[in-house]
């Protein structure tokens, strides 16, 4: 479904991704784990074409998106939903308008239907009575939920999460983790999560990929990773736990 | 205000702006005279220096027209004035070029003559024209005058001044004195002689008197000729028959009389002259242009070509005939339903004829800077607006056509810019609300030129 082949990307002559190969399984939660500033966000943004690689291919459903024009790229992006680190809600719109935004843009549904979908999605992520509030009136956790509601508004086949639990208190972290797992179960979409939080990764992931120095050094189920005898992987986990 | 919707607020705002613009344009725009009304009058000036086209023509300080054109003819400036049709000019009107203030703009002043004189016909000529000396030539003349005066005074000074001058003056006075003395002496010495001469003169005049009285009495040959009754009768008869002939002509008798007295003939000649005049005028304003243009469509990477014939009988009106080679072509859709063995299958066929030739035929009219076009656009009905800017160098156009099909109307926006004569570049958006994905940005170039041959051909057809 998503296949990255030999992706290389440098910023100001500093190599962030180095001939990275990765295949993401459909309808599963894949967590890409790595240290802060290790190029996780860059990798995620490559998948949706926000950043183009210096070399390599990104195959989404058989289409290489690295050489598409704007029009065709936007067609491919309609398969995606993305939750940003700080939710990236439009702060000039209410929460309801934010969730309705992709629906207004890409469907010709009646206003009534859109209102219903918005309510459904907000309920799904556990938010109530926030439709007419501005994003600035919400707490960090609520903003993330609202962002998730917006990301899944069009029922995308792939949902990307950029550090969903960063900056939240432990209780909120747990509830967001649960929400991710529950949402994936209901939507059967492919989830790609990047995180540096090893504990929550083990709880939500079907599969874990480890990013280190611009390469994926290990891929496997949480159990496989946990019981890995590879000393490098062991040290990596240890480092992250600190 | 808070109750107004955003659209209403913006609307009110824009309307206020338009009202102010309209008010200011009306106050400032010189609406007094419109060039398209009125008639032309020619006037020749020795010099039209400083005169510009479109400056005003005034009678008694009131604007009655504008200068339409300034040409050079036989070394003189032919100035064509466009005069308001309500203002009648007499044949003895005087035209002159004046300037407002010392540095002011030049304008034309007409002074009406007597009311008894005939009116000037349209395209007639003002005979009396004075190019008022402008400041430069006035200064030149003044300078020359001053030079002459100073030369004069200098030579006077040379003659009179100094001892030499004084001596010569004295000798002049002396010689005058001696001349008078000599004259006096001569008269005294020849007194008798003078008396004789006077007597002779008196005698001569008496003789002339006698001769004239003889003629009066019919004596001598001259006297007889004048006093003879017969001669007088003969002369009388000649005059009578001449009078009879003219009377006959006047009554319309005889062939010459008929020709001259027949109203119809006169009218015929008159209308013939008028139509020749009209014809010549139309010939003059009649223009045809041939135009080729190519537009590169960015979306489909193809070129759309236009071959245009523009027939322009008048400045503010033209006809357009256009052949278009369109790479998008014409689309046709058909549904074919076939029933075989109780199973109905519907086949949807979309045909896209590539490189279809399309035609346009439009009529266009222009009001000041706004042009309207209507007719056939790319083989469908439509209309368009053109807005002309920067002395027609830049034209902005919006075209709307192809309303009848199921899809959105075909809208086209373009800007034509003519940096050089005969050559222009064009750019814009074609079919920008297309729901078939035909919308495209385009850029192109074209050439156009005035075609005299087609003009002669067409102006002989009763097209207008």
């Amino acid at each position: 479904m998503i296949k990255l082949i030999k992706i290389t990307k440098s910023f100001n002559s500093q190599k962030v991704l180095d001939e990275l190969d990765l295949k993401i399984d459909p309808e599963k939660i894949t967590v890409i784990i790595g240290q802060s500033g290790g190029g996780k966000s860059v990798l995620l943004k490559h998948m949706i074409g926000l950043i183009m690689p210096d070399s390599g291919q990104i195959i989404i459903d058989g289409i290489d998106i690295t050489n598409l024009n704007d029009k065709k790229l936007n067609e491919v992006r309609k398969k995606f939903g993305m939750l940003f680190q700080d939710a990236a809600l439009f702060d000039s719109m209410t929460v309801g308008e934010n969730v309705a935004f992709p629906l207004n843009e890409h469907t010709r549904l009646s206003r009534k239907k859109i209102t219903k979908i918005v309510d459904d999605k907000l309920n799904l992520v556990g938010l109530e009575n926030v439709t007419n509030k501005m994003p600035s009136e919400l707490s960090g956790g609520m903003r993330k939920r609202a962002g998730l509601a917006r990301a899944i508004a069009l029922d995308p086949k792939i949902v990307l999460f950029d550090e969903p639990t960063t900056g939240l208190d432990p209780i909120m972290r747990e509830s967001i983790d649960k929400l991710i797992v529950a949402t994936q179960k209901r939507t059967k979409a492919t989830f790609v999560v990047i995180s540096h939080d090893i504990e929550s990764s083990f709880t939500i992931a079907h599969k874990i990929a480890m990013l280190y120095q611009g390469k994926i050094i290990a891929v496997g189920t949480p159990n496989e990773i946990r019981s890995s005898n590879d000393s490098f992987v062991k040290r990596f986990i240890k480092d992250l736990r600190k | 205000m808070s109750k107004l919707s955003i659209e209403a607020k913006v609307g009110v705002f824009v309307v206020i702006g338009m009202i102010i613009l309209g008010y200011m344009s009306m106050r400032i725009g010189k609406l007094g005279f419109k060039m398209d009304k009125g008639y032309d009058v020619n006037v020749y000036f020795d010099s039209a220096s400083g005169l510009e086209e479109d400056v005003s023509v005034e009678i008694a300080g009131v604007e009655v027209g504008r200068v339409r054109k300034i040409l050079l003819e036989n070394g003189k400036a032919l100035v064509i004035l466009r005069i308001d049709s309500n203002v009648k000019l007499r044949k003895d009107v005087k035209a002159s070029i004046r300037s407002r203030g010392i540095l002011g703009d030049k304008y034309v002043v007409l002074v009406q003559g007597s009311t008894a004189a005939h009116l000037i016909e349209p395209d007639g000529r003002i005979i009396s024209a004075v190019s008022t000396t402008d400041l430069d030539s006035l200064m030149n003349v003044l300078g020359e005058v001053a030079k002459n005066i100073s030369e004069l005074t200098r030579s006077f000074a040379n003659v009179m001044g100094g001892e030499q001058g004084e001596a010569s003056l004295r000798s002049i006075v002396d010689s005058m004195k001696s001349v008078a003395e000599t004259l006096d002496r001569t008269v005294q010495e020849n007194n008798e002689e003078l008396i004789k001469i006077i007597a002779n003169l008196s005698e001569f005049s008496a003789t002339i008197n006698e001769i004239s009285s003889k003629i009066n009495k019919g004596e001598g040959s001259i006297g007889r000729l004048i006093k003879e009754e017969y001669t007088v009768e003969k002369l009388n008869g000649t005059l009578t028959s001449l009078q009879k002939i003219t009377e006959k002509i006047n009554r319309g008798e005889g062939s010459i009389g008929k020709l001259i007295n027949d109203e119809e003939t006169v009218e015929n000649i008159d209308s013939a002259l008028t139509s020749i005049n009209d014809y010549m005028q139309k010939q003059e304003s009649f223009r045809t242009y041939l135009d080729y243009k190519g537009e590169y469509l960015f979306d489909s990477n193809e070129v759309k070509s236009y071959l245009t014939l523009r027939i322009q009988p008048r400045e503010d009106k033209y006809y357009l005939l256009q052949v278009i080679d369109d790479p998008e072509g014409v689309e046709s859709e058909t549904d074919i339903t076939t029933t075989t063995n109780g199973v109905t299958t519907t086949e949807h066929i979309e045909k896209n004829k590539k490189n279809e030739i399309k035609f346009s035929a439009q009529i266009a009219k222009r009001y000041y800077d706004l042009g309207l076009r209507g007719g056939i656009f790319e083989s469908t009905g439509g209309f368009a607006f053109d807005y002309y800017l920067f002395k027609d160098r830049l034209t902005l156009s919006v075209e709307a056509f192809d309303f009848d099909s199921d899809s959105n109307a075909h809208l086209k926006f373009k800007a034509d810019f003519t940096p050089f004569k005969h050559l222009y570049i064009t750019s814009g958006f074609d079919d920008f609300i297309s729901d078939e994905g035909n919308e495209s940005f385009f850029i192109g170039a074209g050439i156009n030129f005035l075609d005299e041959d087609i003009k002669t051909l067409l102006s002989n057809l009763p097209l207008y």
Partner: protein, 256 residues
Amino acid sequence: MTRFLEFAGRPFVFFIEECGSILLLLLSTISWMFRPPFRFRVIFKQMEFVGVNSVGVVLITGAFTGMVLALQTYHGFRMFGGEGLVGATVALSMTRELGPVFTALMVTGRVGSAMAAELGTMKVTEQIDALNTMSVSPIQYLVMPRIIAAILMLPVLTIISDFVGIVGGYFVGVNLLKINSGIFMAKIIDIVELDDIFNGLVKAAFFGLILSLVGCYKGIYTIGGAEGVGRATTQSVVLSSILIFISDYFLTAVMF
């Protein structure tokens, strides 16, 4: 020496580079302009922001510009008895130069900076990326409506500024300095041409393009958090003002 030359040359090269990037943004804006969907509501919202909400500022600057012009030129003209020309001078300066330029500068301060700040914030909080992920072009959704609104609204603001400027000049000239009102108006009508007004409005539309384009450019290329947003805002005002003055010269050279 080389160092000094580099030091002197760098800002210039930077300026040219920036103008090139801005031009590229303009081209892509134009290419997005006529692609569906057409979000007229978004454009209207910007028109309200750029146009309706700037009226107060423009009224005040316009009126006082006209008034001070009348006051200044009066003393000059009085020296050779040309007081009657004060009105024409005010009207001509307002319609040709001061109306468009001052309006553009005020709107740059009020709107261009706001555009840079708003888009800059959206950029650093990843809202622009979010738009992209939702298959909505930020250029079409954010930049294009602002540019269209500014191009359409600046001429309207300018004509208002022209008008109040002349009214202000009339007030000072006729009511305070006792210039004959008939001569005051007659000279305006005599000397000012329709083209003066229209060319001024064309200028204004062009300035609208510049200030919105620069504001948006600085906004969507903001980097570096809140500090970056502040920097972008300042730079957008400075660069817009410079470009307005430079282009004003060339537009004037071409038009008049």
